[in-house]
C-alpha cells in the first residue's frame, strides 16, 4: 500500500468526529486516564451537558451528556437527534465554531464565558471553585484526535 494512504488510514482509526458516539467515548476514556483532571476534579459531583450550537458549519444543535464524579467520568453519552436530552446540573453552550476554537486552545473556557462566546447554566459559584477542573476538561478534549 502507498505509504501516504496507509498513514492516513491508520490516522483515521484514531480520529473521531466531533461530536459523535466515538468522540464521546474517547473523551470519557481520556478523562479517566488524566491524573491532572482526577486531581482537579476530585471533589466535584455533578453532571453536565455540552451544547454544541448550530452555525454555518453545523446544521443542528448537538448535545453531549457527561456524568462526572470525584475526578472520574462515570458515564458519557452522545445524544442522537430525536433523543431526549437528560436533565443535568450544568450546561455549557456555545456555537460549533467556538467549540473548535476552545479545543484548539484559542479560547480559554472561563474567558469564553466572560466574553459571551459560551454560556453556563447552573451554579456559577460552584463552577468558580473548580476552574482548574474546567481547564483540565478542555485540555483533555484537545487530547482526543478530533475530526471536525
Amino acid at each position: 500500500m502507498d505509504t501516504k494512504i496507509y498513514l492516513m488510514a491508520l490516522l483515521n482509526t484514531y480520529m473521531a468526529k466531533f461530536p459523535s458516539d466515538e468522540w464521546v467515548k474517547l473523551y470519557c476514556d481520556k478523562l479517566n486516564a488524566n491524573q491532572k483532571y482526577a486531581d482537579a476534579g476530585k471533589n466535584w459531583e455533578g453532571d453536565i451537558v455540552f451544547v454544541v450550537e448550530k452555525d454555518d458549519s453545523l446544521p443542528q444543535d448537538e448535545h453531549i451528556y457527561l456524568d462526572l464524579y470525584h475526578g472520574k467520568c462515570r458515564s458519557a453519552k452522545y445524544i442522537h437527534t430525536g433523543e431526549e436530552v437528560p436533565k443535568s446540573e450544568f450546561s455549557y453552550k456555545g456555537k460549533y465554531g467556538n467549540w473548535r476554537k476552545l479545543m484548539a486552545g484559542q479560547i480559554d473556557p472561563i474567558q469564553g464565558i466572560l466574553t459571551g462566546k459560551f454560556r453556563l447554566d447552573g451554579s456559577k459559584m460552584k463552577i468558580m471553585r473548580f476552574t482548574s477542573a474546567a481547564k483540565e476538561m478542555v485540555n483533555t478534549a484537545s487530547m482526543v484526535e478530533t475530526e471536525f
Binding site: Q35, K36, D39, A40, N43, D108, I110, Q111, I113, L114, T115, R119, L120, K124, M125, I127, M128, R129, F130, T131, S132, A134, K135
Partner: protein, 374 residues
C-alpha cells in the same frame, strides 16, 4: 476579545473634596469599627455637599462575616442612598460592594454575584471607593471577599457590575497608616503587579500598569518607611498600588495568591504578608514559562536590590522592608504549619489563581511550594 475596565479615578492632594461636587444628597458610608471613631470618617463627612443626609454603617471587622455585612440591610433599604461609599481597607470596600449589589438587587444572595450573569445594577445608586490603605487594589477591582458564616471560609465573588464607579485616591488618608500595615499592603500590591504581568490573561493594558506600579512602589515605599509623612512618596505608593489593582483586575492573579489565601484561611495572617511569603518561590517556579517577562520587571526595582533573577531581587527587597519569606519569621510554628499542608493544598487548588498562573500547578507542585517556606 477582552476588556479593560476601570473606575473613574480622582487622585492627588485634596481629592476628597471631589465629594462636594457630587449632585447627590443621600450618602451611605460603609466603614470599619476602627475608622468610625477617627478623624478620617470626619474628613469624609465634612467633604460631603452641604445639606447631605448621611448614614454610617460601621459593623465591619478585619475579616467580615456575610451576616455582619448584611446586618443592617433593612435600614439601608429604608434610607435609600444615592451614593454608597466604601471607606477603609479592602474589607470595608469589599463590604460596600456587597451592600451595593444587595441594595441594587434586593433578594439577590451575595453568593450569586458572578461574572457570568447580568444583573442590571446601577439604577438606584453609585458606588464610590475611598481606600485608607495602599495595596489591596479593591477600589479598582470587581471582586469582593467575605467570610461565609457556616463554613467560616473566605469566598471571593466577582462581577464587573460591582466595580466602583469612582475611586478617590487621597494621599492624606494614608499618611498615618502604621508601618506594619504600610508594608503588608504594599507587598500585596507588588504581588498583584508581578502576578498580573505574567498571568495567562495579561494584556497590553495590564502590562503597562504593572510595570509602572513596580517602578512607583518599590523606591517610594523605602522613603515612606524612613519618613511616614513624606507626602509625595505616600502619594506614589498609593497611586502605584491602585495601578497594580487595576492591572490584576484586568488580568488575573496567580499562584502566590492561591497559596496566600489558603494560608491566611488557616493562620489568620494579614493577606499581604501571606502572598509575599510565597511570591519569590512562585517566581522561581514559573521561571521556565515567564522568564523574559520577569526580567522586564526585575530591571524596575531600585538598583541596589537587583540580582540576576527576579526571585532573588524580591528576596533582597523583602529583607530590607521586613517582609518574611519563611514561616519562622512570621512567626508560625513549623508543626502547626505542616499539619495544615494538606488542607491548604486543597484550598489553593480551588483558586482561580491556578487557572491563570503561567506554569501549571498540580497537587505535587502546590505541596512543594507550600513546603518551600518552612
Amino acid at each position: 476579545m477582552w476588556f479593560f475596565r476601570s473606575p473613574r479615578i480622582v487622585f492627588g492632594e485634596d481629592s476628597l473634596s471631589f465629594l462636594s461636587m457630587v449632585e447627590s444628597r443621600r450618602f451611605l458610608i460603609v466603614t470599619d469599627r476602627y475608622l468610625s471613631g477617627t478623624d478620617i470618617l470626619k474628613k469624609v463627612k465634612t467633604a460631603l455637599p452641604t445639606g447631605s443626609e448621611t448614614m454610617v454603617f460601621s459593623n465591619i471587622g478585619s475579616e467580615p462575616l456575610l451576616s455582619e455585612i448584611t446586618s443592617d440591610m433593612d435600614s439601608i433599604y429604608r434610607f435609600e442612598p444615592e451614593i454608597i461609599i466604601g471607606l477603609g481597607g479592602g474589607s470595608s470596600i469589599d463590604a460596600a460592594k456587597i451592600i451595593y449589589a444587595l441594595y441594587e438587587k434586593p433578594g439577590l444572595s451575595a453568593f450569586d454575584i458572578t461574572p457570568m450573569d447580568n444583573f442590571g445594577m446601577g439604577s438606584r445608586s453609585r458606588l464610590v471607593a475611598i481606600p485608607t490603605t495602599s495595596g489591596t487594589g479593591s477600589e479598582c477591582s470587581w471582586a469582593a471577599v467575605f467570610t461565609d458564616d457556616n463554613e467560616k471560609r473566605k469566598n471571593e465573588v466577582a462581577s464587573p457590575e460591582i466595580l466602583p464607579d469612582y475611586a478617590i485616591l487621597d494621599p492624606d488618608l494614608v499618611l498615618d497608616l502604621p508601618r506594619a500595615q504600610t508594608v503588608n499592603t504594599a507587598v500585596d500590591a507588588i504581588t498583584h503587579a508581578v502576578e498580573s504581568y505574567v498571568s495567562q490573561w495579561n494584556n497590553l493594558y495590564s502590562d503597562i500598569l504593572a510595570e509602572k506600579a513596580i517602578s512607583l512602589i518599590t523606591p517610594n515605599l523605602l522613603r515612606v518607611i524612613s519618613d511616614p509623612h513624606d507626602f509625595s512618596a505616600r502619594e506614589s505608593v498609593h497611586i502605584g498600588s491602585s495601578m497594580a489593582g487595576l492591572s490584576f483586575s484586568n488580568s488575573q492573579i496567580g499562584l502566590a495568591h492561591a497559596l496566600g489565601h489558603a494560608m491566611g484561611a488557616y493562620f489568620g495572617i494579614p493577606h499581604g504578608k501571606t502572598v509575599g511569603l510565597y511570591l519569590p518561590e512562585v517566581v522561581r517556579y514559573n521561571r521556565r514559562k515567564a522568564g523574559p517577562r520577569y526580567d522586564n520587571l526585575n530591571k524596575l526595582f531600585p538598583k541596589k536590590f537587583i540580582s540576576s533573577t527576579l526571585d532573588l531581587t524580591l528576596r533582597n527587597y523583602f529583607r530590607e522592608i521586613g517582609q518574611p519569606t519563611q514561616i519562622k519569621d512570621i512567626p508560625v510554628q513549623k508543626s502547626d504549619y505542616e499539619s495544615k499542608i494538606s488542607d491548604m493544598k486543597d484550598l489553593a487548588s480551588q483558586s482561580t489563581g491556578i487557572l491563570t498562573n503561567p506554569e501549571e500547578a498540580d497537587s505535587t507542585a502546590l505541596e512543594m511550594l507550600l513546603r518551600s517556606v518552612i
